[in-house]
Point group: C2
Chain length 258, copies 2
């Protein structure tokens, strides 16, 4: 199976590397800025282009890994090349419907690695769940096969399910990270070293592998310890916006167990 990557951002970068390691040929990498694709292309021995009209037709799967709001436009451009019309064309977005590609291609689908990627930072790709979807069963099968070549966890996930997973992912990843920032800001303001909280954060995530978050909830709101909650919200008068967060999250915990 040969693949062409449209986009050399965080997702394209990690996907390209992983495909190469698993001996799946990446024919070509497109990036608006050639320099973005250059390093990856060299590492994985692919050709590059910054011109969508120059995407060659020798691959079986075309993976569009660009920003959500650019997917439709990129698909429209690609579709001008009639040689691509029967190819498998997928995007990698968590929140965009696969149907955005249906105006241009019949063998369209989704190939969504459910992970947060940063260029230059290693991830264990084998463990990354890949959510696959396609209208045609034959396309589904090819995408499942591609997924299984690079991950041990590949699942057929519908557009609707993927949309829900994306909400949940924002909650457990983006919001969690923001809470880390809140903790770091409080520490910085008080001249305290945020590093002291990192083992606690690691353990909170580790525990999740062994217990349900419902069962492992601890803290003043869980205990109904109003005295400590009062002490904390009084302290947070210094940070009015964080005070509202503290109150709403504490209430949400209280509601969960009442």
């Amino acid at each position: 199976m040969k693949v062409t990557l449209i986009g050399a951002g965080n997702v394209g970068y990690h996907l390209g590397q992983r495909l190469y390691i698993k001996k799946i040929k990446v024919q070509q990498i497109y990036s608006r800025k050639l320099s973005n694709a250059a390093e990856l292309a060299k590492a994985i021995k692919a050709k590059t282009t910054n011109d969508l009209s120059k995407i060659d037709s020798s691959a079986e799967v075309y993976i569009i890994a660009v920003k959500d709001d650019a997917i439709a436009e990129v698909a429209a451009q690609l579709s001008k090349n009639k040689q691509l019309s029967k190819k498998i064309i997928v995007h990698t977005s968590g929140s965009v419907s696969g149907k955005v590609l249906s105006d241009y291609f019949s063998n369209y689908g989704v190939f969504y690695p459910l992970q947060t990627f940063t260029k230059g930072q290693h991830v264990y790709f084998k463990n990354i769940p890949i959510c696959v979807d396609a209208k045609k069963e034959k396309t589904q099968k090819r995408l499942l096969k591609l997924g299984k070549a690079i991950s041990k966890d590949v699942r057929l996930i519908s557009d609707k399910e993927r949309a829900v997973l994306h909400v949940a992912a924002v909650v457990v990843n983006n919001f969690t990270n923001h809470l880390f920032h809140v903790g770091a800001t409080i520490c910085a303001k008080e001249g305290l070293d945020f590093d002291i909280l990192k083992p606690l954060i690691q353990e909170t995530a580790e525990k999740l592998l062994r217990k349900s978050p419902y069962d492992m909830q601890t803290g003043p709101a869980r205990r109904g310890d109003q005295q400590t909650i009062k002490k904390h919200t009084d302290y947070l008068k210094k940070f009015p916006k964080y005070q509202s967060l503290y109150t709403l999250l504490s209430e949400s915990i209280t509601n969960t167990y009442s």
Copy 2:
């Protein structure tokens, strides 16, 4: 240095095991219910009692690891034994002032391991920061020594600093765990497997060891992607309380970067 443990809950259990491993003798373990102390006592070869008037005076440090609101009462009971009046008496709480012990003992202090403990679940104690405080410098030194015997990260942290750390710890640990629960609840409601989000959660915590949470923030609120935020809050009409959380956390992220 010999130690007596007052309390055989989560903190007492892990502390007792670690002291034993590092060859610090635990003389005696107190628990209201003897059965709670029995297993630990057997494992670390300590005596047990369920009677505070029978705490013997052969240890140097007495660690009170009981619920926050029981600390003062336990200290009052212990102080009836005049042979303990010159001993080092500490509690292990993140949110209670060391002064709660000052009515009863002169060599009082705090010995607070900044971690979330669950009985029967292994933690790498070596990495757990221990926050030590004491009024007398001599007591501080003894407690620092005790801390260094069981952890590589021991710090002198004042009552005021510890109170701030406790707020931050609630935010990064308790609230984070609640967000995991929110994600799990959404998945369960939709018949989706929450496990699919666990690699993402692990990576979010891992990244924190290499980058600041400010720099690693991603997601719709960070990108100013109002369309996705609207889609998500519309979806969350099914979970009105989670919808408020989503909105407030998204606003807090937006404020952070504007």
